[in-house]
């Protein structure tokens, strides 16, 4: 057991030594992996920020329920309690047609037009605040209300928010595809780096086997190397994304000031960053495993 731990320790030490022994090549590999991972990680960070922004702007979603012009007073009044009884509804505000007209008259551009009319063209309306932001539930509720008596039309005020949400979903898919593709880049980089290492250490590996090294003792340092390379690459990706967001924030700050907002791009949360690092390390390990399995087979003696 102690010998086993020591073998691990020695393999890890040898790995660090190997990384430090070729600092330039290591740096290049780390950069390649870092850039490959920074693309999906950065896109993911931007999406998250966009989502956050969309949530901030939309506030609670609203429905406007417009009554038919020929609806009688009691027919209009019956709708209020029915709306309140809906589970999704937070608050209902009745806006009588007279009040709506008064509002409109305050608008100097409209005043003259309205005076010319001898009839109020506006319907009675309910403004309904909702508890949920769930687009599908909203759509279903609106469709239901449209079928109620003397309801002329129902308008979802946050339709554009839903469009943004749909766009974000699409973007998330794109990030996944990108991450999948670029994972292959990481796999390829570790595979090839370790292939070169195995070739340059061919003699040591062969002699070690002759002297009684087990297969796992020989493979172990390469696994560590792959995992460490992936981890460092993941770290580099994190730094690149952080730097890019900081840089973009200068532009965003200017923009936010115009809108009197304190919006700025946030870095990835710690959990997501950890997931990226773990993912990179696992991919590095896998690349190493593939390379070692593929290349050590050719070695004598078996």
């Amino acid at each position: 057991m102690k010998a086993w731990l020591r073998l691990h320790g020695m393999a890890f030490g040898a790995t660090l030594g190997r990384l430090a022994h070729t600092p330039f090549a290591t740096l290049l590999n780390v950069l390649v992996i870092g850039i490959a991972l920074a693309l999906p990680a950065g896109a993911y960070a931007l999406l998250m920020n966009l989502q956050q922004a969309a949530r901030g702007v939309s506030g609670d979603p609203e429905l406007s329920v417009f009554m038919a012009l020929d609806a009688k007073k009691d027919e209009v009044a019956a709708i209020g309690p029915r709306l309140k009884a809906e589970a999704l509804v937070a608050r209902v505000e009745f806006k009588p047609r007279e009040a709506a007209l008064e509002d409109l008259k305050k608008n100097p551009a409209m005043g003259d037009v309205l005076v010319a009319l001898n009839q109020n063209p506006l319907p009675d309306a309910y403004v309904v605040r909702l508890k949920s932001n769930d687009g599908d539930a909203l759509e279903k509720l609106a469709a239901g209300i449209r079928g109620w008596p003397k309801v002329e039309s129902v308008q979802i005020d946050s339709a554009w928010v839903r469009r943004v949400a749909a766009a974000i979903d699409l973007g998330r898919m794109a990030v996944l595809v990108l991450a999948g593709l670029l994972s292959f880049a990481l796999l390829a980089v570790t595979f090839n780096t370790i292939r070169l290492q195995i070739l340059t250490q061919r003699e040591e590996i062969e002699v070690s086997k002759l002297l009684g090294a087990t297969d796992s003792t020989i493979r172990r340092p390469f696994y560590y190397y792959g995992a460490l390379l992936g981890l460092l690459g993941g770290g580099a990706a994190g730094l690149i994304v952080y730097a890019a967001l900081q840089f973009m924030n200068r532009g965003v700050a200017e923009f936010s000031r115009l809108y009197a907002s304190d919006f700025r791009l946030e870095f990835l949360p710690a959990g997501d960053l950890g997931a990226i690092l773990a993912f990179a390390a696992i991919l590095g390990w896998m690349g190493a495993w593939l390379s070692v399995t593929r290349h050590l087979r050719e070695f004598e003696p078996r």
Binding site: L210, L211, R302
Partner: protein, 225 residues
Amino acid sequence: MIEFSAVHKRYPGGYEALKNVSFSVAEGELVFLLGHSGAGKSTLLKLIPLIERVNSGSVIVGGQNVSKMRPQAIPFLRRNVGQIFQDQKLLYDRSVFDNVMLPLNVTGVHPRDGARRARAALDKVGLLPREKSNPIALSGGEQQRLAIARAIVNRPSILIADEPTANLDAGYAAEIIDLFAAFSQVGVTALIATHDANAVARAAAKVKTRTIELRAGELVAGAPA
């Protein structure tokens, strides 16, 4: 300690390197394996740590039938058989000391114990003053002694050496033979391939030895088994 029974070895391509070879080496014996170039000496030695496998017959090492050994057990067999290779197989990208540390590193010996044992082995072959040198800077005889130090550092009970005195002048060769005689005296079982008659004679003058001879892959009849 080592027992060959009706061993046949055919290389891929069909060449019959060993034909019906049977002999045994008892514990603590020092046996020389003679034979011309191409007779099959290296082939025979390689069957013991399973660098090559027999086509038929059996090889028993320390009571284990190695021809039936599982692949996972092979490293542990090799740790118990000190090997001196015909081409030495030293690593020239590291010091003399690190070359001797290699068999200890692969078994996970504590570095402090390992360093002590490596220095003891280097001392035994008289190379301790050169521990920091690169093997490339050693003379042929010194390189051969380094190979011996690496072979004995794990304190194996069996030592196999493939032409350890080849290309050495008489003085160096004598040093090497004296080393093997000394190992034999402390109970190490040794099988040494050579075609150096002087070396065999020198060892025989110091300790009890025996010789067996291969000729074109067959043991010469009459040699006591």
